[in-house]
Symmetry: C2
Subunit: 171 residues, 2 copies
């Protein structure tokens, strides 16, 4: 422990921003999740799956691609698709060329559920996020989000590489 570098704490302003950001995100999340759950009986992750599937050509996607597009783990998606299949929103199909693979296919019922849910959800997003912001702030939020994504994306690859090195036994 003695060799560890001194942690860089947050300035007063950073601390204030972090707490407000944290609060804003948790309130937004609770608000949108609750709206979707109450009005359409689905968690937000399922809604995202429906959206991505509905935009895919043929309304079909490989599980892996769907997981990637929704930033979900394979496991999470697998559980989710199991339940959505039970709901009649989605149908699993075997992949003919790669027998390990599975397709997730949006059913008419799934599309209907999405079309039923979408207006209320979009309205909630608008009312809770965009309405209180000026157009300038919307633009700023977009740039901030892009910067965060760009910064966090290579970091994932880096963590994966370290993991690999540790498994091999370091050189």
């Amino acid at each position: 422990m003695g060799l560890m570098s001194e942690p860089r704490w947050l300035s007063d302003e950073e601390q204030r921003v972090w707490r407000d950001f944290s609060a804003a995100v948790s309130m937004l999340r609770a608000h949108l999740e609750g709206q979707l759950q109450r009005d359409s009986g689905m968690p937000h992750t399922y809604y995202e799956v429906l959206v991505v599937l509905s935009e895919a050509p043929g309304r079909v996607l490989r599980m892996s691609d769907l997981a990637l597009a929704t930033r979900s783990s394979r496991s999470r998606l697998s559980h989710a698709i199991a339940r959505m299949e039970a709901n009649g929103w989605v149908r699993r199909e075997a992949c003919p060329t790669d027998k390990r693979g599975a397709f997730a296919h949006l059913t008419p019922g799934g599309l209907a559920a999405l079309e039923e849910a979408a207006p209320g959800h979009v309205e909630a997003v608008r009312a809770s996020l965009f309405d209180p912001l000026t157009p300038e702030q919307v633009k700023q939020l977009g740039e901030i989000s892009s910067a965060v994504i760009a910064n966090l994306t290579p970091r994932c690859a880096e963590a994966a590489r370290e993991e690999l090195e540790n498994l091999d036994g370091d050189g």
Copy 2:
């Protein structure tokens, strides 16, 4: 359906911003939650409870006040405190003046767990959120967050917010 007003959809830019913001938040969340879980064996909500308790005078808070300060439901907090008590991080105490009430008291073990977890977590917050942003963007993010909070905070909770601010200084 015929009488419902037409939904206001999102513009192209709003849609792009919403998707980026959504992705950024989910990546940030996953990153920070994972870091805290791996390095300190606690979910982020428990960390927040420890922080708030550690800053409270006497390191004690009524369950209700703690729930407010952490933007948590009573139920969630009750479950959380139960587990944190089992971990030895917190101790429940009865309230002498109102026998329904309960205090949550931070234990030395809980404080130690927090002090152990804090540097790594702060570093992760800095690295994933503040480092990729310019000082100007940090300021913008603070203003955006405040606007969202103000918009989402129901009027009935305004008194509660003031109450929270007074928890420190009022004694």
